[in-house]
Symmetry: C2
Subunit: 356 residues, 2 copies
């Protein structure tokens, strides 16, 4: 029996993606070679890379200003690669401080230039998203985290600004239709909505590149990767292939509109259950609730542990909150079936009736 | 029928490793979850990481001064990460310039400090390894490439020096017994002798760390990765698991002594065939021939193309030389069976008799 997998990442993938990935390891496309044994410059793999890059552009409805790269390193590497490429020492970049990952991005950026924290919800433990804040027009760019995996908040409306907008979309990419063209750079580790750990997607508007005077190591220069069609060095072949399989699955299932509808249905069910029973508390501002990660608590710690144990006994995994936050976290990425949310909602209901 | 896979990397892996990797994608260790769906901080994956790190130390016979890391990014990322961590702006590092990859490492290091090229075989197209050169004792470290994949040369005796020795061992790691303790830092992309593309092994003597005054992005700081037991951020889970399976296979097959014996047998057979027939030319200095990658030519280009075509017709892949070098390259990594080398040697013999 398959488990209900509420992991926050690495997380659940579509069953057919897993099966296709396993098949490719034994015999890729019937060529009597494993996917792991083929050269990355073979037509076999170049085709994989091109299809994946094109699917991203198609799903995001991007024009020719945008380049799609699949790079080594997690999103954490992008925390440094972005300012390294875009922020000169004497310049200032604007950052939104709305969660643990955004704050890590701020720390890395401060190695390369000045950081202006234009919005922060730190004083309320990152339980909301700032609205109506000032973004100085001389900021080199504005950086935000579109969904805060740990804290369970999500930007539902993005700031309007004349400065280039950069977003870490690791935990909600491809889960909704947004105006991707309004961003200058978007990035995401693959291991939540887009595949397996080991590769990051970087989508960049070429117009923001080439304006930095710093010497950049060749392997960190976005322009080099663009020039090499994302094959500058040996790429993480397997993780890119799993991303391709996942992108194909998203398209086949109806694209971002379908993913958005599912996220809406799943998260509504879960938040309704939370709201229905006072035993469950959530500190997240209602308007800023994440449709990917619901974070809540049972104030009585013994009871909370009992709840986590019941989840475990019912084949529900990944429900424990992040180590710095505690509590309960239910992650509902694209590949999580509605049935899994229905199952945990039922368990929550039963638990609340019994212990509430 | 399995092909004879002479790819230079990504390259052949043991059949049992491929089967185990495919199984783990469907159901990891019988836990009813895919390897791709488990958290990297779960006991399941922490155990994978620890076993892999311990196996590296065991195979290399390293003491407690050494730390083993599995990091994002290929060896190319190490070209920058090494000087970023170890070379202050005003300091000088010694580099050996013996091939295309070493020269890329030199370019990256020059972003961070001074580079002193203490040895170069560039004037003879990198067809030999320098001997008896000076290494100034005030060099921060000496960097070399233990095996030059593209040019087909290999260090069979390493320089004796008082400065920390650093080696890119991407294409011959775990293929022979050497005194690994005499190196201060060793690194290797996994996709040749150690697994699938998407992870790099870094083995570092802790004593060389902590001496740099530069501000280092957190994700690039070796010490941070050591402190986090190589789990600083979400690691490339699948590639690390394939590395573990490959390390287990190496140990089971008899460890580095067995790998060395096989490399000796395979490369002897191939080089004997080359030497036996004047139709095959190699420019590599005999003493410096690589036991991993044999590079040779058929001077008549039409005949060479015919040879490559015959290989192709006989299910032998990856035999074409690197794009900047041309000619023929036969890579003979750990997982390549002796039978494959016997098969291509037979083809070479027949071809030479017919066309020589």
């Amino acid at each position: 029996m398959r488990k209900h997998n509420f992991n926050s990442g690495p997380s659940i993938l579509p069953q057919e993606v897993l099966e296709q990935a396993a098949d490719a390891i034994k015999n890729f496309n019937g060529i009597n070679l494993s996917l792991l044994e083929i050269g990355h410059r073979s037509k076999w793999f170049v085709d994989v890379m091109e299809e994946a890059r094109n699917l991203v552009k198609e799903l995001m409805q991007l024009n020719e200003n945008f380049e799609v790269l699949f790079l080594h390193g997690g999103a954490t590497t992008q925390f440094m690669q972005i300012p390294l490429n875009l922020l000169n020492n004497h310049e200032t970049a604007a950052y939104c401080d709305n969660g643990i990952w955004g704050s890590k991005a701020i720390n890395e950026a401060s190695v390369f230039g000045n950081v202006n924290i234009v919005a922060s919800s730190k004083e309320k433990n990152y339980t909301y998203i700032n609205k109506n804040f000032d973004i100085p027009t001389n900021s080199k760019y504005l950086h935000l985290t579109s969904n805060n995996t740990v804290e369970g908040t999500q930007w539902h409306q993005f700031p309007t600004t004349s400065v280039p907008l950069i977003a870490d979309m690791s935990s909600d990419i491809f889960s909704r239709k947004i105006d991707f063209k309004s961003f200058s750079l978007m990035y995401a580790g693959a291991q939540k909505n887009m595949g397996a750990a080991g590769v990051s997607l970087v989508v960049v508007n070429k117009n923001i590149l080439g304006k930095n005077s710093r010497k950049i190591p060749a392997i960190m220069d976005y322009q080099n990767h663009i020039n090499a069609n994302s094959l500058l060095n040996t790429p993480p072949v397997f993780a890119i292939y799993v991303a391709l399989l996942t992108l194909r699955w998203i398209k086949k299932e109806g694209g971002l509109a379908a993913m958005e509808k599912r996220a809406e249905e799943k998260s509504s069910l879960l938040y309704n259950t939370i709201d229905n029973f006072p035993i469950y508390t959530t500190y997240v501002e209602k308007a800023d609730r994440s449709k990917m990660n619901a974070v809540f608590f049972i104030e009585d710690e013994n009871l909370q542990n009992k709840f986590l144990e019941e989840c475990n006994n019912n084949s529900m995994i990944g429900v424990k909150g992040y180590r710095t936050v505690g509590g309960i976290r239910v992650s509902m990425y694209n590949a999580l079936p509605y049935e899994s949310v229905a199952a945990i909602s039922q368990l929550m209901t039963n638990f609340a009736i019994k212990h509430g």
